[in-house]
């Protein structure tokens, strides 16, 4: 039908204009975080204040606390903005984006976003036995050896904690943080609801 062709032509024309004006340039423009990730960024900001890392987690007494996001960063610049100029446990905070878990072993916090679904097990295996607080949002996160898992319930962000895993990595979680969790796993496979 004539109309089909016209719609198609117009769409192609619009797409061309969009590309020409640099609007749809893959990776060329930065994303704004969705409301969900803005909220999750503030959760991260709150959580790190209730965590103690072993001294060997830092290369020097004045090293910054490094928060790494693996893969695509859903927070956009919100995390940087939140953390800039703040001290956590007397340390400045740096936010980095890393492509591989191996690079992230030197970070104190690693956030694994939903987009890393396919590589989750690999990432967690690589980070195992490093003094790293792993935070994720994929449903199998705790079962695969992550420490804090975000989920959304009735539009509110909630989290479960795998305390056994945190203990194994030498990362201490404050009891206040544990009390705010929806559920805490004390030992592998065992779970307590708050």
């Amino acid at each position: 039908m004539n109309f089909h062709r016209r719609i198609l032509l117009r769409l192609v024309w619009l797409a061309l204009i969009a590309v020409a004006t640099g609007l749809i340039k893959p990776g060329g423009v930065q994303a704004e975080a969705t409301p969900e990730y803005k909220i999750k960024a503030v959760y991260l900001f709150n959580i790190v204040r209730f965590v103690k890392w072993p001294t060997n987690a830092f290369s020097a007494a004045d090293s910054p606390l490094v928060i790494c996001v693996l893969g695509e960063n859903p927070f956009d610049t919100e995390l940087q903005k939140l953390m800039s100029g703040r001290l956590v446990g007397g340390r400045t905070v740096v936010v980095k984006q890393e492509a591989t878990a191996a690079d992230a072993r030197m970070c104190q916090v690693v956030f694994i976003p939903a987009s890393e679904h396919a590589n989750l097990r690999l990432h967690l295996a690589t980070l195992r036995n490093a003094p790293v607080l792993t935070i994720g949002e994929i449903p199998e996160f705790l079962g695969d050896g992550g420490v804090i898992e975000f989920f959304v319930q009735q539009n509110k962000v909630r989290f479960d904690i795998n305390k056994a895993q945190a203990d194994a990595e030498g990362v201490q979680l404050d009891s206040q943080l544990l009390s705010l969790a929806h559920a805490v796993r004390e030992k592998t496979g065992k779970q307590e609801e708050n």
Binding site: F3, L23, A31, P35, K38, P74, D76, N155, K156
Partner: protein, 689 residues
């Protein structure tokens, strides 16, 4: 708003007619007094700096922006048992939308038409000329706005709410009768209003536009630390109307140009007050509009006019008990008054009863109603969110009159009506990522009896970026007072009208492609039965009957992009194949294709934005079966804020390329389609203090 008005005459009846009901002034007063507050958590923009200032405990109560209307409680869009679109106040400003009609025109799958007197909204192939949009339910903060005489969904300047008072519009596609009952056949549109906290001070706004259109508004609202909040707003619209509309059918009179089309005056007030769980909200608006060429054979007579007056008040108490009980209870009042003046020649519809050269035939309708609703929700066994509710609605005045000015009365129907409804809904979180939402509502109408309408939706999110929904639902539109009681010689009283029904099947798939880009797709099949139309009964007389059926099948695809600094682009396409059940012909006023494109570009970060919109649709036919062509309309708006402190300025050009196009109109018009406005502009200034 009359259909077939002039076809009637009771020669034997002459009657005394009191023109103005005392209700009119009483209702406006009531509305002013009951200015109202409400109900629904308007989700403010999420600001991380503000959130960071909260305690961890308070942070855990922050909700991700949500839709209220889909399940009668706040939920994320992906969990809603419907395909939902949200239009925010920010988008309305940046796109320069002047009415709810323009907001809905931008929404995937929706389209609107105008006959010069009223605007009509339709979706996915359904927008039958001559109907009043009663297959879509419009609510303000959950309060039903469709009236009980015509069931109209008011979306033009006659709508009660000024668009400046909108916080967000929730467009919930598909059947909604399982929660809302009547009119929620094709969609529910819930408007969430701005509350005291959204104003935090005063606002004055004025605009000037084409056809000598002026608007003015003053609003003030605030929230105090003790929890008391209120908002109060008054607005006025005055338009000289468009006198450049050409009617080829009347080329012999005044060269085919009618007097001003849509010359109107619209005063309106809206207010809300809330304290703890209590809220009171209400509003009033009255539009008087000239209709030089609608529903009549007399052309270019400035006495042709319609007035629509709406008012409501809604008082509610909402309480969250321990153990997660949530109770909402409300009582409400509604007022709708319609009057129409139609100049008729002595040859009106070949009727020789009109003796003089021109007679003014008048309609006077009035609805006054009260209702109450109780709703309880509770989480059971962790995984079930159960909502039960009951509603009672009583029309204590439901009057329709028709008479000639200074002449005989043809119709004086005084009725009342009762409706009782009860509903139950369970949202069962089977797994973290799998939700079953099932519900049903029972309704009893004094006019026809009862009806039960279920909806069931399965919502599956295999990962956070993907959502699948499978939705089945039934819904209905009850015969309205006009269809039930408006009778005339040669017309029989409608006997045993049943509700129109729909069986709807829909599959949705939404995918977050990357942090910038979202894809939403849907396929649907609608089976609509017992459509109410004029037809012939056993006596050979005309009457309303459940005589028609239709189906619509099709699909939708939408790409929505958000980038840093306020870049936004939306592209959508809808295919709908809507056909008459008996003839297999495509429905009239039903475009097979709808395409929309909307782009917002920041010209100066945070302060100046340009918006460009294209709305296209394929050919539609008139009731008589002729095509009206396929308009492609473009709109362009520049919006700025905070260049001067507290000042917002916008300038828009609508129908940028001055496209000439027409919309099909009902069969009670002398013409088959009516030409729409060409290029027009508006400039608007708002100051906050």
């Amino acid at each position: 708003m009359m259909n077939g008005t002039m076809k009637m005459n009771f020669p034997g009846v002459s009657a005394v007619v009191a023109v103005v009901a005392p209700w009119k002034s009483a209702a406006s007063l009531l509305a002013l007094l009951f200015a109202a507050g409400i109900a629904r958590a308007a989700t403010n923009e999420i600001d991380t700096d503000k959130l960071a200032a909260l305690s961890f405990k308070d942070l855990m109560d922050v909700q991700i922006p949500t839709v209220y209307g889909a399940s009668k409680h706040e939920q994320s869009l992906t969990e809603a048992p419907s395909d939902v679109t949200i239009v925010t106040a920010d988008e309305i400003k940046k796109s320069g939308y002047r009415t709810l009609k323009e907001v809905l025109n931008s929404v995937t799958g929706f389209y609107t038409t105008s006959d010069g007197a009223y605007d009509y909204v339709g979706t996915r192939g359904f927008n039958r000329p001559g109907d009043y949009g009663g297959r879509i339910l419009i609510t303000i903060d959950g309060h039903r706005m469709n009236d009980d005489i015509f069931g109209s969904a008011a979306i033009g300047t006659e709508a009660l709410l000024d668009v400046d008072l909108i916080e967000r519009v929730e467009v919930i596609r598909g059947p909604g009768s399982s929660l809302y009952g009547n009119n929620a056949l094709l969609a529910v549109i819930n408007i969430v209003t701005r509350r005291g906290r959204d104003f935090k001070g005063g606002e004055v706004s004025g605009s000037f536009g084409s056809y000598d259109t002026y608007t003015g508004r003053f609003s003030y609202g605030d929230r105090y630390t003790n929890g008391l909040e209120y908002a109060l707003s008054g607005s006025y619209l005055d338009s000289a109307g468009n006198d450049g509309v050409y009617y080829p059918e009347f080329a012999g009179i005044n060269h085919g140009y009618a007097g001003p089309y849509g010359a109107s005056r619209v005063p309106g007030v809206f207010a809300s007050i809330g304290y703890k769980g209590f809220s009171l909200e209400g509003g009033f608006a009255r539009r008087t509009e000239t209709i030089p060429a609608a529903y009549t054979d007399v052309f270019n007579d400035s006495r042709g006019a319609v007035t629509d007056e709406r008012a409501f008040a809604d008082l509610r108490w909402q309480h969250h008990f321990d153990n997660d009980w949530e109770l909402t209870t409300r009582v409400y009042y509604d007022h709708y008054n319609y009057s129409g003046d139609y100049p008729l020649s002595q040859y009106a519809y070949g009727n020789p009863l009109y003796p003089g050269p021109i007679t003014i035939n008048e309609d006077r309708d009035d609805e006054e109603s009260l209702g109450n609703e109780v709703q309880i929700s509770k989480t059971l066994f962790q995984q079930h969110l159960v909502t039960v509710g009951a509603e009672y609605h009583h029309d204590f005045i439901l009057d329709q009159r028709n008479f000639d000015a200074g002449g005989p009365t043809y119709l004086n129907a005084n009725n009342t009506a009762d409706t009782v409804g009860a509903y139950l809904q369970d949202e069962y979180a089977i797994l973290h990522n799998l939700i079953l939402n099932a519900g049903a509502r029972y309704d009893w109408f004094s006019s026809f009896g009862d009806t039960v309408n279920p909806r069931i939706a399965l919502i599956y999110s295999p990962c956070t970026n993907s959502t699948f929904k499978a939705i089945y639902g039934q819904a209905f539109r009850a015969p309205n007072a006009y269809e039930l009681y408006y009778v005339a010689p040669g017309y029989d009283v409608s006997q045993q009208l049943k509700p129109e029904t729909i069986h709807s099947y829909e599959l949705d798939y939404d995918q977050v492609l990357n942090p910038h880009l979202k894809l939403a797709t849907a396929v649907f099949y609608y089976d609509v039965n017992d459509l109410i139309s004029f037809g012939l009964d056993a006596n050979g007389n005309s009457t309303f009957g459940n005589v028609a059926s239709a189906t619509s099948k099709g699909g939708e695809i939408e790409l929505d992009g958000n980038w840093a600094k306020g870049w936004r682009a939306r592209l959508s396409y809808t295919y709908a194949d809507a056909r008459d059940g008996a003839t297999g012909q495509r429905l009239s006023n039903s475009p097979e294709h709808l395409a929309k494109f909307n782009l917002t570009a920041p010209l100066w970060p945070e302060k100046v934005f340009a918006n460009f919109e294209i709305l296209g649709m394929s050919d539609r036919t008139t009731v008589q079966g002729n095509g009206v062509g396929s308009p492609w309309l473009a709109n362009f708006t520049i919006f700025s804020r905070e260049i001067l402190s507290g000042v917002e300025l916008s300038a828009g050009i609508y129908n940028l390329f001055d496209k000439k196009y027409s919309d099909p109109v009902g069969s009670d018009f002398a013409e088959t389609s009516v030409q729409q406005n060409g290029r027009s502009f508006r400039v608007k200034l708002t100051y906050r203090f």
